[in-house]
Symmetry: C2
DNA sequence: AATATATACGAACGATCGTACATATATTCA
DNA sequence: TGAATATATGTACGATCGTTCGTATATATT
């Protein structure tokens, strides 16, 4: 089931039986590593526990990936690939920029709610783990974050060019809000705060709808003001 | 300098020289542990590096705190104490609920910008580290998060009762937005994204001002449809 | 002065960490 | 066929992990 939920496509050398075997072994390691990293962090990855989880030897993992730093990088790349495949790719067919924006946002909430990764959004996991730690992984995470930022901002600007969103709304500002709602919803989901998670969905839709000045208000939102 | 920036008050037994000595030693350890935890996480705390940083023996730390789990808990408690002292306490004198809300929010941004902790807001650090990891620390972190949530929501409701904010605005919804802006601003600050950090300040002020329907617009953007 | 308590130190333990090395097996290529 | 390549295994190494033990020092209590 996890195998059908996501899949890393095998490498090019599908003719060479040796590399095919190795690629499948690497994929198996990465599938497990992504789940572990999303929960315990990329620094929480250990060759030993990974090997015992998969029933193989530590030295095999070392042989497949070289050293641990490479394993972490490959795991991050693979995880972002899964993120793209689950959140971004399904929305590219939509021609209307604002509807593409709506779809990619609602798709993000679905992706978290479906627990594609047991630790929630792997991008937020990586960002928060390396936000204050210099190194190659932080640079890589920062690049991925900037890519996600750019995608949202570009889509918003396209919607402005298409007249779907008034130009008086700052694209950066709306993108910031959407990213902020995602960050808070991610932790809310994992901490079991269902109310705040669904609030994240609501205010996200409302923010987009408000930018498109045909926007309906957020549904009164005053659904009983009890705290948790 | 850091010593003046924050300070853990010594224990009760100030008469007993032994306990006074031990309390100061514990404080020294915790001061360092808080900084490390805010950057490398509470799981990144190690007795060995902590001891060598402070020029003392590992066994001394063990003797002072018992085991590592206790050290982590004490570090979290101390860090939250610093958070409260820096963000919450200075605002309690303000009688107007909405101005108290404004102050506590702008105080949070100051606290992150001043790097009271080198890793940014220690509460967000802890939340993201333990969001998916069962255990005593996660429960503790969740309680602290709920306390912060409750403080914001309560202040908003008090502002509503005082007529400073219309009751048509959901207290939970506004609190969610403020917390979300904080989460995104925290990572932005630490990743060097100054633009997004200042955007966090702006949209926070705008969200509060908009709730108070006397709210001025956020400069040049976020205008148009004023909320009901 | 004698006893008790709490902090400090140093050495050592078993466990796990990442890594290296020698070796075996599977697959390809000449 | 034999040589070359890539994956797999097992063992071992040094480093660091958290923790324990015995002991020394400082302070308090009697």
């Amino acid at each position: 089931m996890k195998t059908t939920r996501r899949r890393i496509k095998a490498g090019k050398d599908e003719t060479d039986g040796r590399r095919r075997r190795g690629d499948q072994a690497r994929i198996a390691v990465l599938e497990r590593a992504m789940d572990v990293a999303s929960v315990d962090g990329f620094e929480g990855l250990t060759v030993g526990s990974l090997a015992s989880d998969l029933g193989i030897g530590k030295s095999n993992i070392s042989a497949l990936f070289g050293d641990k730093a490479t394993l972490q990088i490959k795991t991050l790349d693979a995880a972002v690939g899964v993120f793209i495949e689950n959140v971004i790719t399904p929305t590219q067919a939509e021609v209307s920029p604002i509807r593409r924006l709506q779809k990619v946002c609602s798709g993000w909430f679905d992706y978290v709610e479906r627990r594609v990764f047991p630790g929630g959004c792997v991008l937020h996991a990586a960002i928060n783990e390396y936000r204050a730690r210099p190194g190659a992984l932080r640079d890589k995470v920062n690049n991925y974050r900037n890519t996600w930022k750019a995608l949202l901002e570009r889509t918003i600007r396209e919607a402005q060019s298409a007249g779907e969103i008034g130009i008086e709304h700052g694209a950066q500002q709306l993108a910031f809000k959407l990213i902020a709602f995602q960050a808070a919803s991610n932790t809310a989901a994992l901490l079991g705060d269902k109310r705040y998670f669904s609030l994240g969905r609501e205010v996200t839709e409302a923010a987009i709808a408000e930018a498109a000045n045909a926007g309906p208000r957020v549904p009164s939102s005053q659904s009983g003001s009890q705290a948790s």
